[in-house]
């Protein structure tokens, strides 16, 4: 009976199969024998990049950024080209240079390159780099500026050694303990990049957008000099004395940002004046560059930028105790906790002790491990000496799970390392 059915079925299928293949050939479709297609076919299905782009869509008008810096009045391109081409022609005619280049001995002067670079394309590159470090986002929100005035900031270590501040280099707190030497061309007109007539006044602000302990959106004010006449920083009005950066242990690298503003005229900043007694008062040093700029945007225009990164070193312990008069804080990165499936009443194929350790109250677990550790620690002689050959000592008359536990304890692997 069943055999008959089978025959009939195959017969029917054979008949159908023939029609199916012809139909497939006509439609030029391929059959997938091994597996069914999951999801949409290739070509129709979007890639991960496309899907992410569609999900994180943003309105260009809302996120449009505002340039709050100086515009640049470019010099005549033809005049510039004329001098440049003349220079290049002279270079190509120089026998000496040719000899150096052809013998691979030509080493160009990097200081001269840097000097020309900061005056030409370096300004735009610095803007890109500042974006990479999130400087504008955290200082000015959706505004940005192109730093037109090159800033040269150096921390003096000895008589002839300096730690310069560029754009993102790492300096240790021991190097930056004293106020740096700031040099810029105060006679420079940021728009035309030429020397201007008359007096100009500048404001220099050093802030740290990562240093605020309580409000992650605020900054810490480290240095504030206003009314700097013609670039002479020493003659400026110091509103907040230089406080060195104090990145706490474990927090990692903080940014220290120097922003130079050009003033329209001499200004009165007495509202921002930090009293000498408040030198180490971190509450009073809370600062927001965005609020400050909003308040004075008619008189101030950002013109220069430099920043460095700094992280904890041993010199900071004394600084915290003596200057800030605080207990030195120690932090750790807070890794996300591991995801655990819901606890089962009867978990199959799970070692019971490890399974319970995952789901138990962590305080209880810590207590057990600490108690065991302290019970093996002599009050005067300290902890027991570790075994020289931990695997050579037989473990007898215990169940296998305990054997594994003891072996792990002896070798110092697993949870023992946390205590």
């Amino acid at each position: 009976m069943s055999f008959c059915n089978l025959l009939m079925k195959t017969g029917v299928n054979g008949g159908l199969c023939g029609t199916q293949t012809t139909a497939l050939l006509l439609l030029n479709l391929s059959t997938r024998q091994g597996h069914t297609l999951r999801g949409k076919p290739p070509g129709v299905a979007r890639t991960l990049e496309q899907r992410l782009r569609d999900e994180n869509v943003s309105d260009p008008e809302v996120v449009a950024r505002v340039n709050i810096g100086f515009p640049q009045l470019k010099p005549s391109r033809s005049a510039q080209l004329k001098t440049r081409l003349e220079h290049l022609k002279a270079q190509r005619a120089s026998k000496e240079l040719e000899q150096l280049a052809r013998s691979n001995k030509l080493l160009i002067d990097l200081d001269k390159v840097q000097e020309t670079y900061v005056q030409t394309t370096g300004q735009h590159d610095l803007r890109l780099l500042a974006d990479h470090y999130g400087i504008f986002e955290h200082l000015f929100g959706s505004a940005y500026f192109v730093p037109r005035v090159p800033l040269s900031i150096r921390y003096e270590l000895n008589a002839d050694t300096f730690s310069p501040v560029y754009n993102g280099n790492v300096l240790k707190p021991a190097e930056v303990a004293k106020a740096p030497l700031v040099i810029f061309d105060g006679k420079l007109d940021p728009i035309t990049s030429k020397s201007a007539q008359g007096d100009s006044y500048w404001t220099l602000l050093a802030t740290n957008p990562d240093a605020h302990y309580t409000n992650p959106g605020a900054e810490c004010l480290h240095w504030f000099i206003a009314n700097i006449p013609n670039g002479k920083v020493g003659e400026g009005e110091i509103l907040a004395d230089y406080l060195p950066p104090f990145p706490p242990r474990g927090v990692g690298y903080q940014r220290m940002v120097f922003v130079l503003y050009k003033q329209q005229s001499r200004l009165d900043f007495s509202a921002h004046k930090l009293a000498a007694t408040d030198y180490n008062n971190l509450e009073k040093r809370t600062f927001s560059t965005l609020d400050f700029y909003r308040q004075h945007q008619d008189e101030l225009t950002p013109a220069g930028l430099a920043f460095y990164q700094t992280n904890w070193d041993e010199s900071l312990t004394q600084f915290y105790h003596n200057v800030l008069q605080l207990k030195e804080p120690v932090y750790e990165y807070d890794y996300p906790k591991p995801y655990l499936a819901d606890q089962k009443f009867f978990p199959l194929r799970q070692p019971f002790n490890l399974y319970m350790d995952k789901h138990r109250d962590s305080k209880q677990l810590n207590k057990e491990y600490l108690q065991r550790k302290l019970s093996q620690t002599h009050p005067f002689e300290g902890p027991e000496q570790p075994l020289r050959f931990p695997n050579a000592h037989p473990i007898r008359d215990v169940p296998s799970w305990l054997k594994t536990e003891i072996r792990k304890r002896r070798l110092g692997t697993g949870r023992v390392q946390d205590y």
């Binding site: 020309t116 780099l129 280099n169 990692g252 990164q309």
Partner: protein, 190 residues
């Protein structure tokens, strides 16, 4: 054991993940907003790329070199932010001191300038997927970059270890220059 009776829906899984990843609000924490901090500490996300892709896209910073008919340019790219730093022999600052803009000495000097700019920008490690023929101008450029203080070995990302794992990796924020120098000195003594 009432929890075991609850069905495991995707909404519940998402709720659990959200609970695990929301930061604590007890005030015992600080936030470091520096977007490069976690990369320096080797904790930040680093794309793994696709399995069969070559060259891979597993990097935070990478070096890319483009040659045109007349000039060479070297760009440092970040996996999210794109080009963040560049140097080219078409720049007036470099060009004005060169004899030719695409000869061997131009390549070498471009490498020196790029390395200087990388160090000024605090980028000391990056990957480099450029295949240079031995003895070529390109190889000399890469050598010049490395000789001037940039490493082409980017550190791997340290994954989050679970409490039940056998081994823990070092805590990257506890590794300072002082401990590193002490460690090398003791290894030298041994």
């Amino acid at each position: 054991m009432s929890r075991s009776a609850r069905p495991l829906t995707s909404a519940r899984v998402l709720h659990k993940i959200k609970e695990l990843t929301t930061p604590a609000t007890d005030g015992n924490f600080v936030t470091n907003r520096n977007p490069r901090n976690l990369e320096r500490l080797r904790i930040a996300y680093k794309p793994t790329g696709y399995h069969l892709e070559k060259p891979g896209r597993s990097y935070w910073h990478t070096l890319e070199i483009n040659t045109s008919g007349r000039y060479v340019s070297a760009d440092v790219k970040h996996f999210e932010n794109g080009t963040i730093l560049s140097a080219s022999t078409s720049e007036w600052a470099i060009k004005q001191q060169l004899y030719k803009t695409k000869d061997t000495s131009a390549f070498v000097n471009l490498g020196r300038v790029l390395a200087q700019r990388c160090l000024q920008a605090g980028i000391t490690e990056m990957t480099c997927n450029v295949n240079a023929v031995a003895g070529s101008k390109l190889e000399k450029l890469l050598q010049a970059v490395q000789e001037n203080g940039v490493s082409f070995q980017e550190p791997t990302r340290l994954p989050n270890t679970h409490p039940w794992d056998a081994y823990r990796h070092e805590k990257p924020w506890e590794v300072s220059e002082q401990t590193a120098t002490v460690a090398t000195k003791t290894s030298e003594v041994k």
